[in-house]
Symmetry: C2
Subunit: 332 residues, 2 copies
Amino acid sequence: MDFLTDGKLVISGAAGMIGSNMAQTALMMRLSSNVCLYDPIAAPLEGVAEEMYHCGFDDAQITFTSDIKTALQGAQYIVSSGGAARGPGMTREDLLKGNAEIAAQFGKDIRTFCPNVKHVVVIFNPADITGLITLLYSGLRPSQVTTLAALDSTRLQSELGKYFKIMRNKITNCRTYGGHGEQMAVFASTASVNGRPLTDLIGTPELPDAEWKKIQEKVIQGGKNIINLRGRSSFQSPSYLSLEMLRAVMGGEPFRWPVGAYVDDRRFSNIMMATETELTPDGVALREVKGTAEEQKDLELSYGHLCALRDEVIKMGIIPEPSQWRTLNPNL
Amino acid sequence: MDFLTDGKLVISGAAGMIGSNMAQTALMMRLSSNVCLYDPIAAPLEGVAEEMYHCGFDDAQITFTSDIKTALQGAQYIVSSGGAARGPGMTREDLLKGNAEIAAQFGKDIRTFCPNVKHVVVIFNPADITGLITLLYSGLRPSQVTTLAALDSTRLQSELGKYFKIMRNKITNCRTYGGHGEQMAVFASTASVNGRPLTDLIGTPELPDAEWKKIQEKVIQGGKNIINLRGRSSFQSPSYLSLEMLRAVMGGEPFRWPVGAYVDDRRFSNIMMATETELTPDGVALREVKGTAEEQKDLELSYGHLCALRDEVIKMGIIPEPSQWRTLNPNL
């Protein structure tokens, strides 16, 4: 099986749990014959590269470096899990500020070292915000920067599968949009269970309202649940899904889930959020979000939460006011 | 892409680093549409299953259980990384005894709950010994039980690739046989570098003897090097390669590396060790180990080391003397 591309794929944060899984996943998916692993932490990074050599992935060029210039030069695709984790004593704001600054530098580095990159997927938290900051500073087109936003939708599929005790592939077109966590908008009207619209089941004995509320809550708490169960943040699913996104951008199988993308229309402006999209070799293209009036209201609420988070970062001085964005990135 | 089989694949030790990687790898390789994750530690196991659901692997039945009977019933393929890790204050002998006892129980459980299993791959350390014990107690045929023994060969390929600064797929047919670690027999005469026999290069300016010695040492220390670099044992490469073994047994791509298999001929008897084999849906078949007189002597030395390790386990009372083995397992 051939590689999808010979273009250089850079995995940033490759020494971490997500990043090291991405290295293996990218090679197993046969995404690129040229994979560069980057991480500032040199020794574990080398350990990950060694593991990849020991797998016998012998027809791919697998390099590793802790020098960002070496990593990014010639990059055609980048996926970055390279944020900081929340340390002891750190507030949510500390984490936000830290990762926002990392994203700003990451964007600047892209502009300096690989302005001709084709696509960048950003997955470190809060991804809607770090993705937006990366887009602003990189100078790339909005179609070239996406964030991982699929996990909430796959969690909805998973919880519905458990509730109805049927195979997950009988639960189709699950969608959550907007932000992540408490702020997400969980849509019901897009999904079907065994061919029947989910909205026909909610509020009936098959899925009483209270049970549907519980499912929504489980979706929202899906990440926290993994931490409780495993004693560590999820790393396999974010790794896997973000590379499925890149696979679609490289011309492989279409991506089936919502994507975090830059939205700037009459309804939502100057924001990156989970939305309906199509990922192709031309990048991400926005598609209409369909839903009931109530769902659309939820989405607007979620958008409001994201704007507040974005405005925090503006107040921190990490990005300017939206009115200044086009000066920073003329492609917006 | 279809699954290779609908037969039940059991991943034992699925809550661990290797096991959880195996879950994802098996699903990505499309090995089986029926994957059962087993681990005595229930909460992290559930966390791994959740991660697999959140990946969107939605056309496979993915179950999890901490009940060994539920796990093994109906199993057609098993891969087990379910050994204990070396804890603080534990001697090498403690670890050997602990994992030997786990292997004995594992073999008995197979005999009780899934005597019709097709193939079992054992990868917890020391795998040559735990695999042998599993074979003895399971009552399976020698063709049905194999152990992971490829890592040393892929490490040889990797080190030669680094030394000669060429792509690893230009380094072909790397082989180490016999035991693992200090006891392995690193063969040179099987390998080629860019089409030239490695033995033609050793002892020349292209690869002076001292450099070849260094390479052999790096191969032997390959696992320890990962621990030094990453602060944890290798888990991605053992996971990946053991599932490549199962893929071959399921009728997929042939396996390219040595395999740990039961050997009992005129030269080597009553032992499991890395040897030349072919993995097919009929299981593992032994093939001739070719090498120079000196390499064959190294292999005999390595065999001697393994026999000593096996005899330790006999003295511990975990397995009987070889003369009694046929009573325990008439298929030997």
